[in-house]
Symmetry: C2
DNA sequence: CCCTCGCTAGTCAAGTTTGACTACTCACCC
DNA sequence: GGGTGAGTAGTCAAACTTGACTAGCGAGGG
């Protein structure tokens, strides 16, 4: 699962009605250009694709008010909202170890009711446990792990990663169950979009050491 | 950086001379179909691309001896070996959090001299530290982390992940410095390819719970 | 007044990835 | 003696991603 559809659907949904550049700007505001493959080309492509599939509705709009080419505004459809929630649930549940998907999922987690978020995360820990078990079972040859040589280190990495993620997931579950944050249906939501007149403090284009490429 | 070029170059190199299906089979033997995007199409595409770029040399070969379409055999060129080592070094050094690249890099790490492997991994830990520092610095607003709301959990995830990886990397460094495994120039290397007449114990096509998709 | 710079908004070609599909042979069963 | 199932080897179109490019407007300097 690629993160871009989730990100774009989520961005359009939060905005209510947005054109490509706004989505692009929101994603940059969230730092998504650093931890996901949300490049301009991908964003515009995703918007068109989602519109073609009926998940977004495209309004043809007159030339921009502030210079630049004419722009298309998008709104999420009912079908799109469904797909958005489906993607979000899947991203939270499944252990697929891609940073961008996980980050996006956390960013949107408060769009779900608190109880469901917790349930999905618990499901996630179960998935991690299963994966861990299947790795240790499946890849240890009968004649002892020494047969694997340095290849055993790959297994070791997986186990290590799985454990770290299980621990982190459990911590998040605890915090959410402890009452942290504001979830769907609990009053004024946290809003993470830029208004039209607001400058983007993170849109510096500056890179940090170790950024994913 | 995508893992596929590294995997394909490494596979061809270990084989000496290999056709696409052999590479595909080796990768499956290594479990790469489960933790990387090494699907048939990608493998054949990579082979052609690498050949076009002079990193592999393509031998046109007569129709297969055992049925199936005619096959092309590939050998790695000097340039290809250089690129292979460059990719391997980069994969070991840079903290780019993609499982497939990391796993591939560990699989091939013994192609480097022991001292260099350690040096690269130490460089990696430095990179992780820097990334960690830049995350904590850059994303904590002046008015306290509470302003971030649940978005702070994304940062938390990154920190957690970075710490886990630093710990794992340090463990690996310790084991290598402690004399584990057999590196380049230290005698009979560990061989991870299938001979032509050998069956592949992992080519069952069976999936495990939690597999990355 | 003109020229460049930066911002807005988006397009495009080239490259990559995906998943389904083809075509051929051999072994085996009935 | 024919069918069929498994294995061998690879192709292909469609989708996606990437990075570079375009084109219009306003601000500011000289």
């Amino acid at each position: 699962m690629s993160a871009i559809r989730l990100l774009v659907l989520g961005a359009v949904r939060q905005h209510g009605r947005a054109h490509g550049y706004q989505v692009r700007n929101d994603l940059e505001y969230w730092g998504a250009h650093e931890w996901s493959n949300a490049k301009p080309g991908s964003i515009y492509h995703a918007l068109k694709q989602l519109a073609k599939q009926g998940l977004l509705h495209a309004h043809e709009v007159a030339p921009s008010t502030v210079g630049g080419p004419p722009r298309t505004e998008y709104e999420i459809t009912d079908q799109g909202t469904e797909e958005y929630l489906r993607l979000l649930r899947e991203a939270l549940t499944s252990y697929d170890q891609q940073m961008d998907v996980k980050s996006a999922a956390i960013g949107f987690i408060v769009d779900l009711p608190r109880a469901e978020a917790v349930a999905l995360l618990k499901e996630r820990t179960r998935g991690i446990d299963q994966w861990r078990a299947s790795v240790t079972e499946h890849y240890i040859p009968e004649d002892g792990p020494e047969q694997l040589g340095h290849i055993g280190e790959i297994m070791n990495l997986w186990i290590h990663t799985a454990d770290a993620e299980a621990a982190w997931t459990q911590g998040l579950i605890d915090r959410i169950e402890g009452g942290a944050y504001t979830f769907a249906g609990e009053g004024a939501p946290f809003v993470g979009v830029l208004r039209d007149d607001e400058e983007n403090p993170y849109a510096t284009g500056e890179r940090h050491p170790g950024d994913a490429r």
